[in-house]
């Protein structure tokens, strides 16, 4: 076996590390615009799914401009914040802030001449973050559509939250009860939700922690919009 001097080993490893670092940075920089665009398109697709509009990566932008009529940011006391771009707000950062300081994005869409309010939600699943969009009818209580996504929930169990079957259960449920109190939509243990209730859906059997995550995410995110909803209802 050849023997190598310490100097050689040092030079070899330095050259290797620099070469690899250069290669990866070049790759990261050249691919970044594509990745950013993918993330944006994916976000638009998610918003569109929450208002029950099917889209593909190709027509997402066109449909987005067609159906989403305006977007703005509100504060937790219910007033509109001027000059903020709702689309670029990172929900992960907003959720980690104290409730009073959060900036809350709202997307307003128009499907079949009715108005929907699309609310982004963000929370914790079992293995990582879960997020999504919930759209409300213009009574600001009935859910028009919902879309959830996740980073790495268990396939076949928690990961089922991103399926149509699970998301469809939310349609028609109400986040306020008859007296106008905020009750959210509870995600209960699989098979225990009362089918007649307007505020309960079945969770996923075997995906309990993810289901609880969705439950808490809805309660946490939707409740902070309550002051703003009260403002426009007046």
């Amino acid at each position: 076996m050849k023997s190598f001097s310490n100097t050689y080993i040092f030079i070899f490893s330095s050259v290797m590390v620099i070469a690899v670092a250069a290669l990866l940075s070049i790759a990261a920089i050249t691919l970044q615009p594509f990745q950013k665009r993918n993330v944006e398109i994916n976000k638009k697709q998610n918003i569109l799914t929450s208002i029950n509009i099917e889209s593909t990566a190709k027509n997402a932008e066109e449909l987005y401009t067609k159906f989403i009529t305006e977007s703005y940011v509100v504060s937790t006391n219910g007033s509109v914040i001027e000059g903020a771009d709702a689309f670029t707000i990172d929900m992960k950062k907003e959720i980690s802030k104290p409730i009073a300081e959060r900036n809350l994005p709202i997307f307003v869409s128009n499907v079949n001449n009715t108005k929907q309010y699309v609310i982004p939600v963000y929370g914790k699943g079992l293995w990582g973050p879960i997020w999504g969009y919930v759209s409300l009818n213009d009574d600001l209580s009935t859910i028009y559509g919902a879309n959830f996504a996740h980073k790495g929930e268990t396939p076949g169990l928690g990961a089922e939250i991103d399926t149509k079957a699970f998301q469809a259960k939310f349609i028609g449920k109400q986040i306020f009860d008859e007296s106008g109190t905020f009750v959210s939509v509870r995600v209960l243990k699989g098979g225990t939700a009362n089918p007649e209730s307007n505020h309960e859906v079945d969770g996923i059997s075997g995906g309990t922690i993810t289901s609880v995550g969705v439950d808490e995410m809805l309660k946490d995110c939707l409740s902070s919009y309550e002051p703003y909803f009260k403002n426009i209802k007046k």
Binding site: F4, F12, V20, L24, Q35, V39, A57, S205
Partner: protein, 215 residues
């Protein structure tokens, strides 16, 4: 060493491709790469993309290591191998994110986990460090194919019995469910993957007595 040129697909080279599919299969015979075989085989689609990614990473890192094998100081060779694998995995991950975003979303963390796949280190250390680039390339493809075949078989059974679908298409008719048929929840969990691997190993050794250890 003779200087005469070996044909590209000599019988020795063909063997590099076919051996890992059967009698020296990385998963069932060498019992390497079990961890990822458990993790990504719940459904067929991610298992397939995982298999392709492993193939690319293994083939390319094998070739790279084989090219520089004579200048790698033996004392730091494991680190060098790891750096090459890690760089390749990150590259593959970035490319998937840029051009096939949907699939990369499905695979999420699993692509990163290729780094921890023992088959990669095993092949680099055992083969690429001592063989020419072309042979190493074939060895990489062969071993990754051996890995892929097992992944596809396991995920086929796990998806069929665990979710009632194949490649995300429903194959178990609704009428079955009405008669009380239920998807097997255990199939979705990792222990069942281990049992399926065990069954494959059993079948393979029952058919080929040479593989049974004599002790």
């Amino acid at each position: 060493m003779s200087s005469e040129k070996e044909p590209l697909f000599s019988s020795k080279n063909i063997k590099l491709l076919t051996e890992p599919l059967g009698n020296s299969n990385p998963i069932t015979v060498q019992v390497l790469g079990i961890c990822s075989a458990l993790a990504v085989t719940v459904k067929m689609k991610p298992a397939f993309v995982m298999a392709i990614s492993v193939m690319v990473v293994l083939a390319v890192s094998n070739v790279v290591i084989s090219f520089i094998r004579n200048s790698i100081p033996p004392r730091i060779r494991i680190i060098v191998q790891l750096v090459v694998i890690a760089a390749m995995v990150i590259l593959v991950d970035q490319i998937l994110k840029a051009f096939v975003y949907d699939i990369s979303k499905q695979l999420s963390v699993f692509v990163g986990l290729i780094i921890t796949n023992c088959i990669l280190m095993g092949r680099l250390e055992a083969f690429a460090m001592g063989n020419k680039p072309w042979a190493s390339f074939l060895d990489g493809i062969g071993n990754a194919a051996g890995y892929s075949i097992i992944l596809i078989i396991i995920s086929f059974f796990r998806e069929l019995l665990g979710s009632g679908t194949i490649w995300d298409y429903k194959v178990v008719p609704d009428s079955f469910y009405q008669f009380g048929y239920q998807n097997n929840g255990l199939m979705i969990l990792p222990p069942m993957a281990l049992i399926v691997v065990g069954i494959i190993i059993w079948v393979q050794r029952a058919r080929n007595k040479k593989l049974i250890e004599t002790k």
